[in-house]
Structures are given as C-alpha cells and as structure tokens.
C-alpha cells in the first residue's frame, strides 16, 4: 500500500489533539499502521507535545521594568520665572523701549521700540508696502494665468487632435467592416442567383426533354397507321 503522506501532513495535529471526525481518524490510523514515515512523523508530533509539558518555566532575571518609560519632567525650581536670563532679557527690553531705539536694515526692515515712529509715517510705510505687495502679486497672478492659459490651450489642441485621429480610425474601421460585410453579402446573393438560374435551366431542359418524348410518343401511333 503506497502512501503520499498527504493525509498525515494535513491532519497530524488534529489526530494528536483528538479532534478528528471518526471517519478521518480511522483513515489516519490505517495509514499509521502501514506507513513507517507517517508513523515517525506522528511520533515526532507526540514528542513535541511532551516537550512542551516537560518545559519548566525559568525565573525572569532582574531587570528595570520601567527603564523605557517616559522620563518625568525635570523638577522645576520654586521661582522659575526669576532666572537670570529672563531677568536680563526683560531689562534689555525695557531699556530699548525707554530709549526709543530704532533698528533698520538695507532691506527696508525697520524695528522701532517705544513709539519712535509717528502714526503718519507708519501709515505711509504700511501703504507703500501693501501697494508694492499688491503689484507684485498681480504681476505674479497675471503671469501664472497667462502660462496656464497657454498650457491649457495646447493641451486642448492635443486632446482634440488625438480625439479626431481616434474617431477617424474608428470610422475607417467601421466603414471597412461595413464594406466587407456588404461585399460578402453581395457575393452570397450572386451565388444564390446563379444557383437558382442553374436550377431553372436544368428544370427547363428536363421539361423540354419530357415534352419531346411526349410528342414523339403521341406521333408514333399515327405513323403506325392508327
């Protein structure tokens, strides 16, 4: 009895755990009786099961279980706002405001502490900056709009050309198919007409022969003196 080991390959664990239906279990047990390979495999599965029961859990070595937890925030002092750095920054800011210091760069950036600029001057600067920004934005938008329009026009043309080409090809194919069908039908019709004519001709010939034979038959008694 040959064995391809497939049955045990599929059901060896279920057989070991006793969860196989009776019919399958009987088949597996029959295989075990006849196939040494399957018998060894099943024995190995039993060894795995025994191995698991023989394993004795070992104690976990000491380790820092909270080592990887997020570290708590550093403990802050009683008066954290009174650090020397903050105090120095505050004093510097107060000095700048009191002395009405102005700082300006070549790029037009101007920082004024303590109201060094008048209201009108500020308004003028803001208006100029807004006007400049508006002009720059308008130019930018116009340029982009123009570019976009050109791109879109080109894309539309290409799309239309592609569509036209595609449509033309489809029409040509359809017309070709139609013409082929029409020619085919015409050829079949011609064949049918020719065949019918041939049949009619044959019929006529037969009729003529029959009439000739009949006339000969009718004429024969007269010649015999009737």
């Amino acid at each position: 009895m040959s064995c391809d080991h497939q049955l045990m390959a599929t059901h060896v664990i279920a057989l070991l755990e006793g969860t196989l239906p009776p019919v399958l279990r009987e088949r597996c047990e029959a295989v075990l009786q006849h196939c040494p390979h399957c018998r060894d495999v099943f024995a190995q599965a039993q060894q795995y099961r025994d191995m698991a029961t023989q394993w004795q859990d070992e104690e976990v070595p000491r380790w820092n279980r909270a080592r990887h937890l997020v570290q708590p925030q550093r403990r802050q002092g009683n008066t954290p706002w009174l650090s020397w750095t903050a105090l120095a920054a505050s004093l510097a800011a107060i000095f700048l405001v009191v002395s009405k210091t102005e700082v300006s760069t070549e790029n037009g950036l101007m920082i004024s502490f303590g109201g060094g600029l008048g209201e009108a001057r500020v308004q003028q600067l803001v208006t100029a900056a807004v006007a400049s920004s508006t002009a720059a934005q308008t130019t930018f938008i116009d340029t982009r709009l123009s570019e976009f329009t050109e791109q879109q026009t080109l894309a539309n043309r290409l799309l239309y050309a592609e569509w036209e080409n595609s449509t033309r090809n489809e029409r040509q194919q359809e017309l070709g198919l139609l013409l082929t069908g029409w020619q085919s039908q015409r050829f079949q019709d011609q064949q049918a007409v020719a065949s019918r004519l041939n049949e009619l001709t044959n019929d006529q010939l037969e009729n003529n022969q029959y009439l000739n034979a009949l006339m000969r038959t009718v004429a024969a008694p007269g010649r015999n003196g009737l």
Binding site: A9, Q47, A52, W55, D57, E58, W63, R65, H68, L69
Partner: protein
Amino acid sequence: MFTTPSDEMLIERALDGSQRAWVKLVERHERLVFNYCLRQMRNRSDATDLMQDVFLAVYRHLPSYRGEGVFAAWLMRIAVNKTMDLLRTRQRSPQVETDDEAETAMLDWHAPDEHGPAFVYEQNSNNTQIHALLQILPVEQRLVVELKFFQHFTFEQIGVQTGVSVNTVKSRLYASLQKMKDQLEANHVL
C-alpha cells in the same frame, strides 16, 4: 474586598501615566515572554534583551491596543514580530562566533536559580535538551512549533500572528516534524 485588577484596567492606568500599573502588568506577563524568548534565542542574555525589546514595543504600541481579544495574545503577536525581525536581521548579517563563545553561550544558558541544586539540574537538563532540539529548526518553523505546542494557539491564530495562511502554517509544522525526524535518524546512525 480587594480584587485583582484586570489587564485592561492596568492598561488604562498605565496609559494615564501610572508607572506602578505598568510594572504590575509587566510582572504579570514577563514570565511567559521570557520563557518564550529563552526557547527562541541562543542564550539567556539574548533572551533577556529580546524580552526587553518586546516590552518596549508593547509600551510604545499600548495606545493602539483596543481591548479586542486577549491581551496575552496581542502581546505574543508583538513578541513574534520582534523575534522574526531580530532573527532575520541576524541572518542577513551573521555574526562570527568562535567555539569558545558558543560554549560560553551554552554555559550561560544554565541559569543560576534560587532553588536547590537538584531542582536546577533537573530543570536545566530538560530545558537544555528542549532548547537544543528547537535550535535545529529554522526560525519560521521554530515559531510555529512554539505557538502551537507551547502557547496552544489554533492554526488560524498562528496564521494571524505570523502573517501567513493556515495552509502555510500547517506546511511549516509538518516540515519541522520531518526535519526533526531526519535529525534524530541522523543522530541514531551516528
């Protein structure tokens, strides 16, 4: 009366920042994970490292634990993933190990224990043999044997844990049985 808090309760507290709850949760499951790591790795030191990696990953992914299923199964899924990642990395870049280092690793595997010498000897004897047998198998097959026989998962659960189909799980298990059988036959011949 005092009742033992469930895993879910401990997780909730740990997510709220309770270090004590996290430590309690770890203590509850570390024995399972450590012994799993012992069977998967070559020595005790690697097993300890892997266990710590597993719990670090668990801690990082704890907010994504939705409470569906058993926490231990979720934990083992992470453990399996970490094991596969680690062992595959080592396969890609195998470390050269001298005979002395290998011997040291095996000796290191015999752990000191607070129990008596007889207990330690018997425990180490069984566990060492089991460990040596499991080390014969490739990683994927060893994981399937572990999950089926030591963790008692179903084939479907093992498929989910390892990310392969049930048929693949069965094939790997059967291949491991054949490999072990061949190995024992070879030992018998020698």
